[in-house]
């Protein structure tokens, strides 16, 4: 996360770290139910073998596992069938854990939006992750507040790529908060009246985050995928026979 700040432990209990040996942290991910995590397809593409992955929850400093850490192996990886590497569209993936997490105040799921719920431009939300800070890779979880911008305005920053209804854009002034490499798959969340946090985006792609070029971060639009997500969880939970 560029331009953010170090998060207080437990502040984002749904944030998880998708890890694979020998490199450790590869991507961010988000807990949405006791046995289910969301991330983006481009983190898993070409490495869809569940056995090489593990998911770590309840962690703030990647280098110092706390007492609240829970680690789970991966049982199933479901990439969206329309994921396109060339245009980074339909960039979403569901991961089934090998067993439930224990819900604690440091490990608990985020809410999913309803399909009709969409984010209006100029809404402020938060992004979090252990991605590049511009000058180094952090050990401690970073957070930052970003402003949602319209898809039309977002398209004006990208010539080669097309911004689609499966995407959300946020933040764009250079020097303000932005996501970066290593944040992929992590959450863009917004607080609802009443204090509940809802997951609207997953960090997906954007301009080269620490170059001079301006450009917003682009996030997978979770509202667009909610029905697919719920369908997949239903099929893999109830239609086992």
């Amino acid at each position: 996360i560029l331009g953010g700040r170090t998060s207080r432990p437990g502040r984002w209990p749904w944030q998880c770290s998708l890890q694979s040996e020998p490199s450790g942290h590869i991507c961010g991910c988000v807990l949405i139910a006791k046995k289910w995590v969301l991330t983006v397809a481009h983190c898993l593409e070409g490495r869809e073998n569940a056995a090489i992955w593990k998911v770590v929850f309840g962690i703030n400093n990647l280098d110092h596992p706390s007492a609240f850490v829970q680690t789970r192996l991966v049982k199933t990886i479901i990439l969206h069938p329309r994921y396109s590497r060339a245009v980074v569209d339909y960039d979403i993936s569901i991961v089934e854990l090998n067993e439930d997490i224990d819900e604690t105040s440091y490990v608990r799921p985020v809410c999913l939006p309803s399909p009709e719920q969409s984010l209006q431009p100029d809404t402020y939300c938060y992004i979090t992750g252990w991605g590049h800070m511009g000058n180094k890779m952090p050990f401690k979880l970073q957070e930052g507040e970003v402003r949602i911008i319209s898809l039309e305005q977002c398209q004006s920053y990208f010539d080669v790529k097309t911004i689609t209804a499966r995407m959300i854009c946020a933040g764009y002034e250079s020097g303000t908060v932005d996501s970066c490499m290593g944040d992929s798959g992590g959450p863009l969340v917004c607080e609802r009246p009443g204090g509940q946090w809802t997951l609207f985006g997953l960090t997906s792609w954007g301009s080269v985050c620490f170059s001079k070029v301006l450009g917003p971060g682009v996030y997978s639009n979770v509202s667009y995928f909610v029905e697919w997500i719920e369908r997949q969880i239903y099929i893999h939970t109830f239609l086992l026979n």
Binding site: R108, P109, L112, V160, Q196, W197, T237, L239
Partner: protein, 374 residues
């Protein structure tokens, strides 16, 4: 290199003999970088001249955005060709030798386009200094020069009638970008070999039609995809499955859609909700005979909701109500869904249906900030 892990160690390490470390260190690989898929050669090897170690790295690099945008300024006719010779250098499949661009090609590209970059405060990519490339025909080192049938535009560009290249995303966007406006001509879906949604004229790839994912606002792209018999219903993937196999607990559609949404809650006037189970595509009330709380829990979970908060048995007024009742030995079945436990055609002795309220999943809450008095 002597060791099979050559590729990694060659990236700048001294394990290999520096004089030929770049030439015979890695094998040729097919070009997959979409930007450079229309070159007169189709194999490359890495690292490339910009230091990228893989094509994936090249595809998300700054240069892979910079050059296509710069091509639109028409600063040099063969700029895209030169960009590709350094992004995906030609690899001779017979010798695995790398064939660099000629120095003249590099110098022409830089001479014509560096100043254009300067106008917008950007720099020519640092490590494309031209004297690393051989002169044309110098001491029999082959190098690449464009011949007349080289494509000036990349596959990610649209070629204007005037010959200029503009990015494909600018085609039919309502803003003319070609000097002859040709990018805003023939913008109908059919002209672009695309399919048109009747409701909003949106253009879709043909592969998106009848693929089970609705794209048009009125889902027209997923209609008329198959013609089932009268006693059949259409699956989400447009297969036809006989009606009496729907919600019988066994997936008959390849995508299992005949077993989706088989258990729902139907609201009535006084806002209590009745548990409804579908069988053969017909909704039934669930009979309360032998009902247990574990079944309420299964029902709520199956509908993606939280724990059951209220389960009631409500007398049914209608005489000819269609019932589904619990299988006589449902506890011994290893069913994973509630509707697998229900059977049709039995009478409901209590003549009462299940009214059920499920809580919502608890989510999105953060622990309150801990205040530690000092």
């Amino acid at each position: 290199c002597l060791y099979n892990s050559c590729l990694d160690s060659c990236g700048g390490s001294s394990l290999c003999d520096p004089s030929n470390s770049l030439n015979n260190c890695s094998q040729c690989e097919p070009i997959t970088l979409e930007l450079c898929m229309n070159l007169p050669y189709n194999h490359t090897n890495y690292p490339n001249y910009l230091g990228h170690r893989t094509q994936k790295e090249a595809s998300i690099s700054w240069e892979s955005s910079l050059f296509p945008a710069l091509v639109q300024t028409n600063c040099y006719k063969y700029l895209m060709f030169f960009a590709c010779t350094i992004l995906v250098p030609k690899c001779d499949v017979n010798t695995s030798q790398r064939i660099p661009p000629c120095r003249a090609l590099c110098e022409h590209a830089k001479e014509h386009c560096e100043s254009v970059l300067g106008i917008v405060g950007l720099q020519w990519p640092e490590d494309t200094y031209c004297n690393q490339f051989p002169e044309e025909n110098s001491d029999n080192q082959t190098c690449l020069m464009p011949d007349e049938d080289v494509e000036e535009c990349s596959p990610s560009h649209f070629k204007c009638g005037s010959g200029r290249c503009v990015l494909a995303s600018r085609r039919c966007d309502g803003q003319p970008d070609c000097d002859d406006d040709s990018d805003e001509e023939n913008c109908g879906c059919k002209e672009r070999d695309l399919w048109e949604c009747p409701s909003n004229k949106q253009c879709l790839k043909y592969t998106f039609i009848c693929d089970g994912f609705p794209d048009c606002p009125d889902n027209m792209d997923e209609k008329n995809c198959s013609f089932c018999q009268d006693d059949e219903l259409e699956c989400a993937n447009h297969e036809c499955v006989s009606r009496d196999r729907w919600c019988d607990g066994v997936a008959d559609c390849l995508d299992s859609s005949d077993e989706w949404d088989c258990v729902t809650l139907s609201k009535n006037a006084n806002s209590s909700s009745f548990l409804t189970a579908h069988r053969s595509a017909t909704a039934h009330h669930v009979c309360g005979d032998g009902w247990q709380e574990t079944l309420s829990r299964l029902a709520c979970k199956q509908m993606g909701l939280g724990e059951p908060s209220v389960t009631e048995l409500i007398p049914e007024q209608e005489q000819d109500q269609q019932w589904l009742t619990l299988h006589s030995s449902w506890e011994t079945l290893n069913a994973t869904t509630l509707h697998e436990l229900l059977v049709k055609g039995q009478s409901c002795h209590s003549r009462s249906k299940i009214s059920l309220l499920c809580t919502k999943q608890d989510c999105g809450r953060r622990p309150a900030a801990r205040m530690n008095k000092r």
